[in-house]
Structure formats: structure tokens, C-alpha cells
């Protein structure tokens, strides 16, 4: 029994390391991008275009004329109006290994959020942080205005 457990553990480790050695997996797709809309990725500033893929830790940011929307792998939708910014601090959607969670951080703007399957499968693992309040989600479509 112990040996079998060890084999399983080492297999899991092997899988995990194989995963991290690969390119990081995209977590979603830009559906709409108009005006002044960018993706901030580490130190890069990428002009957002429909069809671009996004990754965990990306920040979506719009200027006074911008709008941008994304649909994530678990069907979550984020839509930003003008002068808005949202950081995707965590996105985990691996139902087979029960690794589920999402942390979004909104720093400013007018933003729509429609929850996807992570919120359905693990509602307590979904959180939206803003400078002055935190939101917990249960299968929700909401709009927020966050004043910096």
C-alpha cells in the first residue's frame, strides 16, 4: 500500500513538473477590444486585440476611450468599460484534480462580471477584491463601479 502511494505521488510530481516546464496554459480569449485597451503582462504592455489569449497574472486595462471583454476557460466573462483595470491574480480550473479558484482584483473603473463554472463548483474559492471592499460570489452576473 505504502509503495503504491509513493508511486502515485511520484507520478503526480512528474505530471506537475512536466506541466510547469511547458508554456503556461492560456486561461481565456479576448472577445471585444476597442479604443485604448491593453494587456499588462509582467513588464510588457500589449495592445489588446480580439482573438488574443490571456494568462493568469495578466492585467486588463483601458483608457478613457477603451473597452475590452474576455471569456475565460470556465466560461467566466469579464467586461471593462473605459478607464478600468482588473488584475487576474489567480485562475485555476482543473476539475479533475479539484484545483479550482479565482481571485480578481479591480483597482478602478466600470466592470461587468458573469460567473462561470468555477463559481458553480467551488463558490467559496471565488473572490473579487477592490480597494475598499471584497466580494464573494454565488453564481452571479454583476456590474461594479470602483472609484480609485
Amino acid at each position: 500500500m505504502r509503495i503504491r502511494l509513493m508511486v502515485i505521488c511520484s507520478l503526480l510530481t512528474a505530471t506537475a513538473s512536466a506541466y510547469s516546464a511547458e508554456e503556461p496554459r492560456p486561461i481565456g480569449l479576448i472577445k471585444v477590444a476597442t479604443g485604448d485597451a491593453v494587456i499588462l503582462r509582467t513588464s510588457q504592455r500589449i495592445i489588446a486585440k480580439p482573438g488574443y489569449q490571456i494568462y493568469q497574472k495578466d492585467t486588463l486595462s483601458t483608457g478613457p476611450t477603451g473597452a475590452i471583454s474576455v471569456i475565460l476557460r470556465d466560461d467566466t466573462v469579464l467586461a471593462l468599460g473605459s478607464s478600468s483595470e482588473i488584475h487576474i491574480d489567480r485562475f485555476a480550473f482543473e476539475p479533475s484534480s479539484q484545483d479550482l479558484g479565482m481571485v480578481l482584483r479591480v483597482t478602478r473603473g466600470i466592470i461587468g462580471y458573469r460567473s462561470g463554472r468555477i463559481a458553480k463548483l467551488a463558490p467559496d474559492a471565488v473572490r473579487i477584491e477592490t480597494p475598499k471592499a471584497t466580494m464573494g460570489i454565488r453564481g452571479t452576473y454583476l456590474m461594479m463601479r470602483i472609484v480609485p
Binding site: 466600470i110 458573469r114 466580494m135 463601479r145
Partner: protein, 206 residues
């Protein structure tokens, strides 16, 4: 040296600056509104900070909290027109919700049933309406056969559907194919049980 004229000009400039920017900031509070969802009961959102907590449950229910971090206000139902005005930007950028389809197969094959073949045109239409679209195609099997063989069969089924869609003119930006084999049954059965509803491919168009 500052002349009377330039002082006057600066005052006008300052006044204009304030007039432009103040209405935008003064009185504007943080705002969270629960939106109605088509064909679903609304979920819940809990808005909390160190001063208090409020739960929104009804469509158009809203809470506000000050920029200084005051307690979230008691929920009130907001006027729909007002909500649509404030959030016109994000509302206009909201994409269509994902479209989901189940396609079924003849036993132990990757041949679609005639009913499912007839759905392909509708899936292509869904892709075209959502461009740039992401197509996710996951194959599943019933419990007849070994898990390994069924994983492969699921993969074949997903591949068949993807190829069919492409040959019929689908051009999604992103394609994700995969298999859950017999590991994700729609209808729970024992092992070695033929079940047409488990021999399926799940198609999601985002």
C-alpha cells in the same frame, strides 16, 4: 511678474478644471449591482469590508460604499435605465454566452448518429456569431471496454467532430480537443454497460 490679466486667466482655467473633473469624483461612490440573468434565478453577491457586509439577491439590487471605505449601504433596487446608463461601456462589450451541444455516437464507433450530424450546421452558426471563437470539443464513452481504450475512443470522437466542423467551414480562433474517456459519465452505470447517452462529445463554443 504676474499681471492682473494672467491671474484672471489662471482663475478661469482653475474653475474650468474643477468644473470638468469635480462632478466626476464628487459624490461618486463605489457601486455594485446584481444583474438579471436570462432563464436563471439570480445568484448572490456578498459585499464586505471592515465596516460591514451586505448580500445582494434580487436583480437590480445595489449597494454603495464610500471611497473612504465606509460600510456598504443597505441594498436598494436601482432603476434599470440608470444601471444601463452607468454601465453602458461594459454592457456593450459583453460577449454572447457560450453555446453548448451534446453529440452522440453509434456504439463503439466514432460515427455520429444522424440526429447529431444534423446539429453540426447549428454549431457552425454559433461559431460564426461568436468570432473570434474558442471551440472546445471533449469526447466521452460509455463503460464498455477498458479505460485506456475508452480514453482513445473519446479522443477519436473529439477529433472526428473537430474535423467535420472544419470540413464544413468552421474557422474558430482556438480549438481545444480532449477526452475524458469513461471517467465523466452523464448517466451513472456499472462497468461494461452500453449507454447511448454516455457515448457523446461535449462541444462548447465560447
Amino acid at each position: 511678474m504676474m499681471t492682473g490679466y494672467s491671474i484672471h486667466r489662471m482663475a478661469v482655467f482653475l474653475w474650468l478644471t474643477l468644473a470638468v473633473f469635480l462632478p466626476g469624483c464628487a459624490g461618486q461612490k463605489n457601486l455594485v449591482v446584481l444583474m438579471p440573468e436570462e432563464g436563471k434565478t439570480s445568484g448572490e453577491v456578498t459585499v464586505s469590508n471592515s465596516q460591514g457586509s451586505q448580500v445582494l439577491k434580487q436583480p437590480w439590487e445595489a449597494t454603495k460604499f464610500s471611497v473612504a471605505g465606509g460600510r456598504p449601504s443597505a441594498p436598494v433596487i436601482m432603476d434599470e435605465t440608470e444601471v444601463r446608463r452607468i454601465f453602458a461601456g461594459p454592457l456593450s462589450a459583453m460577449p454572447l454566452p457560450p453555446a453548448k451541444y451534446l453529440l452522440y455516437f453509434e456504439q463503439n464507433t466514432s460515427n455520429l448518429t444522424p440526429e447529431s450530424t444534423a446539429l453540426l450546421a447549428e454549431i457552425i452558426e454559433a461559431i460564426n456569431r461568436r468570432q473570434p471563437a474558442e471551440l472546445s470539443v471533449i469526447g466521452h464513452t460509455d463503460t464498455v471496454g477498458t479505460p485506456e481504450d475508452n480514453y482513445q475512443l473519446g479522443l477519436q470522437r473529439a477529433g472526428t467532430v473537430t474535423d467535420l466542423l472544419k470540413s464544413l467551414g468552421a474557422t474558430p480562433a482556438i480549438i481545444e480537443t480532449g477526452s475524458h474517456g469513461e471517467g465523466n459519465l452523464l448517466i451513472m452505470t456499472g462497468d461494461e454497460t452500453p449507454e447511448p447517452r454516455n457515448r457523446r462529445v461535449e462541444v462548447i463554443v465560447r
